[in-house]
């Protein structure tokens, strides 16, 4: 093995000029454009749900949808910050309020269904189509994000992937709400919740392999 001085000489010889990363917020903006294009493509390919206007005239539904969008947005901001060495790890807490709001709105939806329809309003079940859509939409979104934060591989792979997965799954869920109808809020909670959790856990468990595959080895 080379000595440290020899290694420094080699690295010095290889030190060509490089372009420093753009500020995180600009990169968040670029990724949001990509995410918007992918999710819009998905919504257009399925067509908007027929009851969209009626549904979105209810404040609770709008708040729930905005909460999922906010979760995606804030998790993306957190992802681009924690991926850079030296940034505060507290950025990871940024999406927490939006996640809480999202879960709370889904919980309130379940409560309303129960008050309005009794036990019949709490239809339990996992919509496989819903789950699949969240997972499969997360793949192109996730790959785009992974490519943009691949520098996090050797330093901060786990939290970067976890936050990134939350962001892509939340955007997928928000897009899904525009073309897919579910009978009860509980089904939305279960299907979206399991979909998001699955994307996050899969991403977390495979973060090392994903970064190795994308180009920078976490070692």
């Amino acid at each position: 093995m080379a000595t440290t001085d020899e290694l420094i000489a080699k690295l010095g010889a290889d030190a060509h000029a490089i372009q420093p990363l753009r500020p995180p917020m600009i990169r968040v903006g670029l990724w949001l454009l990509a995410a918007f294009a992918i999710v819009s493509g998905l919504v257009l390919s399925h067509g908007l749900r027929p009851d969209l206007i009626d549904e979105f005239s209810r404040p609770a539904v709008v708040i729930e949808w905005l909460a999922s969008l906010s979760t995606g947005l804030l998790a993306a901001v957190a992802t681009f910050h924690v991926s850079i060495p030296g940034r505060s790890v507290r950025w990871a807490l940024l999406p927490v309020p939006a996640v809480m709001l999202w879960l709370a709105t889904l919980g309130v939806g379940c409560l309303n269904d129960w008050l309005r329809y009794g036990a019949d309003g709490l239809e339990v079940g996992l919509s496989v189509g819903c789950f699949e859509t969240i997972v499969f939409t997360s793949v192109p979104l996730g790959l785009t994000l992974l490519l943009m934060v691949r520098h996090a591989g050797p330093v901060c792979p786990g939290p970067t992937i976890l936050l990134g997965a939350l962001s892509v799954a939340a955007f997928s869920a928000a897009g899904l709400s525009l073309f897919h109808h579910l009978n009860s809020s509980l089904m939305v909670l279960i299907s979206h919740g399991i979909g998001v959790a699955f994307v996050m856990l899969t991403g977390w468990a495979s973060s090392g392999a994903l970064f190795r595959w994308i180009g920078l080895k976490p070692l």
Binding site: I8, L11, G12, P20, V155, C156
Partner: protein
Amino acid sequence: MSDTRSSRSAARDDVPEGQRWSALMAKAQAGDKAAYVRLLGEISPYLRSLARRYVPTQDATEDAVQDILLTIHGIRHTYDPRLPFGPWLVTIAKRRLINRLRQHTRMVAHEVALEDDAVTFADDEVNLPDRKIHYLDVRKAVGELPDGQRQAVVLLKLREMSLKEASEASGQSIGALKVSCHRAIKALQRILEPSRKR
């Protein structure tokens, strides 16, 4: 949690030579090789002192320092020269060291220490001390061999002649000597080590 607050906390955590190293890294990002070599040379002792807290041996320390330098080289574009250099450097160094420590712990957990170094094979026989054979027993056993075999083993093994010399001395062909010697060794093993598996 804003960048300003992050910068303020980063400035508090900055390394002693942070400002100079920051300037050197900015030059390195622009392609100044001399500045880069100087920067890596200057941060190495600092990294070495940091690494010693995490890894036990000198060799392991040097490996860890080189790993950090390679990582810095791979992601040097992530450094923003407007921000302090220290937090960037220390984050990379500590994450690499912790990763190394974790790998080491994982590796140790999968290793099984051999408690008895003398036992190397499962077979009982090979772990017994060699039985000493008295030279008189050998002489007696050689005396019991048929003439041809006795001559071959005496010339080739006891007098350590070459096949050619033994052939000239005995008048036997080289092939016959080889066969006789092989049979003689087998016969001696049977006489001297009757319990040995064959």
